[in-house]
Symmetry: C2
């Protein structure tokens, strides 16, 4: 796998929460926006310039910033149909584009999906529904291990936290946002931007089933209002065993050849009945051939292709290593925790999955940034841009933007440890923080609230606060104790907030006591506190509520500092760089990814690795050859049993040149007839540097073929009702 | 703590083995020289230049390479007595220098110490004897937790693995080494160097109690033959409880103010009787005052102050992050492992200690390298040196050295994963590999053997192979399974050596089976295999011996490649840089540290931190104030009980400006009368960048005061026989 928002996943693991168990550390925040709305690309990630490098004289191009063959995550309302026509002889019409858009959905937690039947069937990845599958499991019935198939509609079970969004309309609100923030800086800019965004979103969100997000494109070059139909009644229909969904496990992750059936089917319900969508994707029974044109319609989470060299150096030296150190340590902890018994293994398994996936993704990104050639090309392009900007009178106003961005990286490096120290991973603490802040925020006018409590965002926040997902006390204790230890590591034992939290306690004992004492695992208790507002929260003797109150002033202070001194100015100067760039290179470029809908085009293709051709397709037979009978190369019993029935030459997974990134997980891959030929679930190892730039020779998207999906559903799982539905026979 | 070879510790944790449990991954090697002889500074650590940065135009100095006040780890036979005289009004005579040298000892595992009585009493840190204290403990009696005091000489217990070396003579063998390698490169250079070194060392080592090391100084500028008296009968006399030796634990490590009694006393025995050394240090009952001149005589393990910018960039981007990722993951694993029960806690505690210490040390080094100013200064100095070298006709021969070193970094980055993948941490596997290689190597002529099997080095190798240190099967399983997983991560599941080792097995199950099946925990079995040579090893059905044989060709291949393509050329071009530098700046500089005896001078001094003065001394009273009653701030019962008897104003720990680094752990700090005023056990956080350069304003060494030592020994522990011995009353 695993094109869940790669960066996001981690930011999310570290701070916000794309998965159930992390969900509320988010609106615990001190930090980036809540999970459903990733930070504007480039505004939250980026640190201090090594003057040595950034002042470097620059040598000849590879123009890393200019789109190359198949590069691009394009807006569906600004799609380069002419380029596609020229290269592939097919021109997508606006009707075609609209149909594909309306058939695509976003999973608010950080994935993509598609409507694939007249009865609201949604196709996405197994790893995108993983938390749901785990939440529906218990010590007696483990659907992660055993798979899940609802034999009838009545057997379909509601996922506690999955929200599906369908993009129904796009409005350009650039003028309104830009007018509201004109000439402002720092806190004033931040406040004005929050206010205008909240107002626009609230006007648009006419009910709980409408979700509206103001999307920052081109780093402030444009602001679009994305209006979604929001569905929160989403039920699990089918999921295979994890052993085949994630065959090869961490060793094979981000590698190819692959042999994964990384799929799950969900169904959207509306008013208690299956949704009957006007638009949905038809199925291609033939699949795609080598070289065939393919489109991917999905929600790439974030790219940072416009970052300046100083910002890239911050990523390389601070942001990525710091996150990786934390994730590596957590990976070690959970791995050992899982050895302590089958139930511990079961509850921690999704965590391990996300952590290992994030480590691999971030390490891939780091490897791109330590590649001297890559940074060299970036430095060259930047040098050229700055020279042009300086020699163009009307762009003179932007000439200090690069220097300012470099300066901000230094501040970011200094502030980040405190910011991280007060962003905790514990789910129960995240809920406590969310309840404490809800009591504080909701009485305020809409435009003065923290982002996640804006009227337009409350449904998402409530879904996370009131999630019925079970909570493992042991895992929570582990996570909370790690939060405490990390805070002490980052701030030192003598910091007042550390003393206030830990007192004379041992970190682990304190965490155990708090988790044992809290009643927040009970959703009813959370609802009572939420509905009771400030009075109820203030009267609460729940130890986690009390802890959340104890640290809230400190956590809010660093969040404010972060937003005003880092996020706002970085956004402002990033926008200046973007404007200079548009003025010089025109608008025939795509915006950085922002977890909003994009369409990429490409074709089925392998690549050369160490002088050898990697074929574009694998087969079912290859999976049986690779199987060892032991994890992570253990085929499920269902596959062993079905082997004789299967056509072993069936194409299993395939590689294409589509430009995708984390968040594209679960995206449909379609042919020119808008029929499903595949299901994106990963990229190869070379795709990871795609965060910072597209490398056309080796960057490949990885998908399950449509042929493999129906062959396995029918012959391995006997899920003919799903196959018939996909093929339109029902 | 913890000036154990910081870099080394890790290299050691990762590859070689300064501690008991890691000892033989070493002569398992594929890797750097064995523990007792750290790699020549600069030859093994260093990677790919970001051309962007290294081609940078360079701006005005801070001349990072020029010695500043108190900077320097000086040779005792080339000490700048005149500088000291000028600055402090005291001129150490050669007699003074010889006395201090002969009173200093090296602990072969990676620490320093000193002879402090007429009866062979050796003072070092608790953390330097930690592995011994743990090895003498068992499930019933935990000396780490409870401390140890031998009431009489008969109660002193032999440490399984501690070797003490006293430097008795130094010869300059530069001409002989340089003649033997003149004009050679790569494999030929490597072979010739190994041959001449082995020959010189063998001629010198006239018996098992003589240890001879050819020490590479000034990166090949000089080669000195260090002749040591080797003592392997070393017994434990006194160690306090770890709670006071390492009070404040990981949070306070490398920080100051500190309140640690990080001491242990050992005794060297010779012929079964306490040694009666001619030279030993007298005790200062008054200790040192603020501003007073202090000398530190010890064995700094390694500095890399001469690395080129390209090499520093390799450290920053590859070497340090890769090691830290591995260590962080291991730290998480052991932390959780230790929660599984008191016995697991006990056996893994020393590992955690070394791992956390290494993480902090390496992260401190990394922080220095991502500091733009620091690298900027290095780039400036390098630019100046290169310009001078290019414009000096007789130095023209060296002008390509920097370019070559940059090229080598790229190769190193590419080869390192394979090198690391085949360097395992399991102690039992290390022993297996050592036995397999001993059988292969010992029949060869001395000068053709792998370094660690040269005649002069066999005693050390045997001590590690036949160590009586107990082995925890659970911990070994954990380590070996991690070795397997890491190998698969680094090489991919399809690499032939990975397939050969793992077959169709699960990594953890395989490790458990191997550890359960091996008999190598029994020293007698090891001796029989060693004595039986190739025939015995070949006939052995021991599963770990078989595994070691299975991978030996691969492991040797990458070791050879590493030595010939990385170590040798890096040494060669590093020497060229060094020669150019000498030719230009003269020889009034000190060589990089090489775990050989050095003397540094300085004075007692606090420093400014965030605008506040940090005082140079802490007191006993401060420790009681800081205590919380919970780890890591829990004072032992003995201290609580003795509180009323103690003078709470006693100076406890102190900071000085001496230039030290990992390996200096346990070094005596003496006044101008050569009396002990303190015991080095740590540096502050600013000292960690000392690996790459000395920063005089904030870099501080941290020591326990002599006054604290005797006050605590007498009043807390009733160890009056030790106090009397130190004060010369016995």
């Amino acid at each position: 796998m695993s094109k869940i928002l790669s960066h996001r996943t981690v930011r999310v693991l570290a701070i916000a929460g794309a998965t159930a168990s992390f969900a509320l550390a988010a609106c615990g925040g001190d930090e980036t926006p809540p999970p459903a709305m990733p930070a504007p690309a480039g505004s939250t990630t980026v640190v201090p310039a090594a003057p040595v490098a950034s002042a470097a004289p620059v040598a000849p191009p590879p123009a890393a910033d200019q789109p190359l063959t198949d590069e691009g995550m394009w807006l569906t309302n600004d799609f380069p149909a002419d380029k596609v026509a020229k290269q592939y002889g097919f021109t997508p019409t606006q009707e075609w584009l609209d149909h594909v858009r309306l058939s695509s959905v976003r999973l608010a937690g950080g994935c993509s999906g598609s409507l694939v039947s007249a009865n609201g069937l949604v196709m996405t990845n197994h790893h995108c529904a993983h938390s749901c599958i785990e939440q529906l499991s218990n010590a007696k019935k483990d659907f992660v291990k055993e798979g899940f198939f609802a034999k009838t509609g009545n057997d379909e079970v509601k996922c506690p936290e999955i929200e599906v969004n369908q993009l129904t309309g796009i409005d350009d609100v650039s003028a309104r946002v830009q007018d509201a923030t004109k000439g402002l800086a720092d806190k004033a800019l931040n406040d004005a931007q929050r206010a205008v965004t909240a107002t626009i979103e609230k006007e648009c969100a006419t009910g709980d089933n409408v979700r509206c997000d103001v999307v920052n494109l081109y780093h402030g070059g444009r602001y679009h209002l994305y209006k979604y139909r929001r569905y929160q009644d989403v039920r699990l229909v089918f999921a295979p065993e994890i052993d085949i969904a994630f065959f090869g496990g961490d060793p094979d992750n981000f590698n190819f050849p692959r042999f994964d059936l990384d799929v799950s089917f969900l169904r959207v319900y509306d008013g208690g009945k299956p949704l009957a969508p006007k638009d949905y994707l038809k199925w291609s029974e033939a699949g795609a051939k080598d070289g065939e044109l393919t489109f991917v319609s999905g929600h790439p989470g974030r790219t940072s292709r416009q970052l300046t060299v100083a910002q890239l150096e911050f990523e390389r030296d601070y942001a990525l290593p710091r996150r990786l150190f934390d994730l590596d340590s957590y990976e070690g902890t959970i791995t050992q925790f899982m050895k302590e018994g089958p139930e511990k293994r079961r509850v921690a398994e999704p965590e391990l999955f996300y952590v290992q996936n994030s480590i691999k993704a971030l390490e891939g990104e780091r490897e791109a940034l330590v590649d001297a050639e890559f940074l060299h090309a970036k430095a060259h392009a930047e040098h050229e841009l700055r020279e042009k900007a300086e020699s163009t009178p009307e762009l003179a106003q932007y000439k200090d933007a690069w220097k300012e961005l470099a300066r901000i990286q230094g501040e970011k490096a200094a502030l980040q440890p405190r910011f991280d120290a007060l962003s905790w991973h514990s789910s129960l603490f995240g809920i406590a923080r969310g309840l404490v802040r809800a009591a504080d925020e909701l009485p305020k006018p809409n435009d003065k609230r923290l982002d996640e409590f804006g009227d337009a965002r409350i449904p998402g926040t409530k879904q996370r606060l009131f999630s019925a997902a079970p909570v493992s006390a042991e895992l929570e204790t582990l996570k909370l104790s790690r939060d405490f230890v990390r805070m002490r590591q980052l701030l030192g034992a003598d910091d007042p907030v550390v003393k206030k939290v830990l007192g004379k306690d041992d970190a682990y004992e304190l965490a155990a006591k708090l988790v044992k004492g809290t009643k927040l695992a009970d959703v009813k208790v959370r609802k009572a506190l939420f509905d009771g507002g400030a009075a109820a929260v203030s009267a609460s003797t729940d130890p986690l509520i009390q802890l959340a109150k104890l640290v809230d002033a400190d956590a809010r202070a660093v969040r404010t500092q972060w937003e005003e001194h880092i996020v706002s100015p970085e956004k402002k100067f990033g926008e200046e760089v973007a404007r200079a760039k548009f003025a010089i290179y025109g608008t025939h470029v795509y915006p950085d990814a922002t977890f909003s809908l994009r369409l990429s085009y490409g074709h089925v293709a392998g690549w050369m690795e160490n002088g050898k051709q990697v074929p574009a397709f694998t087969t079912f037979g290859g999976a049986f050859d690779r199987a060892t009978g032991k994890p992570p190369f253990e085929l499920p019993k269902s596959w062993i049993a079905a082997k004789s029935k299967l056509d072993l030459s069936t194409p299993f997974d395939m590689a294409t040149t589509n430009d995708i990134i984390g968040g594209n997980s679960g995206s449909p891959m379609v042919n020119k007839n808008a029929e499903v030929v595949g299901l994106i679930f990963d990229g190869n190892i070379h795709s990871l540097g795609g965060e910072y730039g597209f490398e056309p020779k080796n960057n490949r998207a990885v998908a399950v073929t449509s042929v493999a999906l129906t062959e396995a559903l029918g012959k391995v799982y006997g899920a003919t009702r799903v196959v018939d539905e996909l093929k339109g026979k029902k």
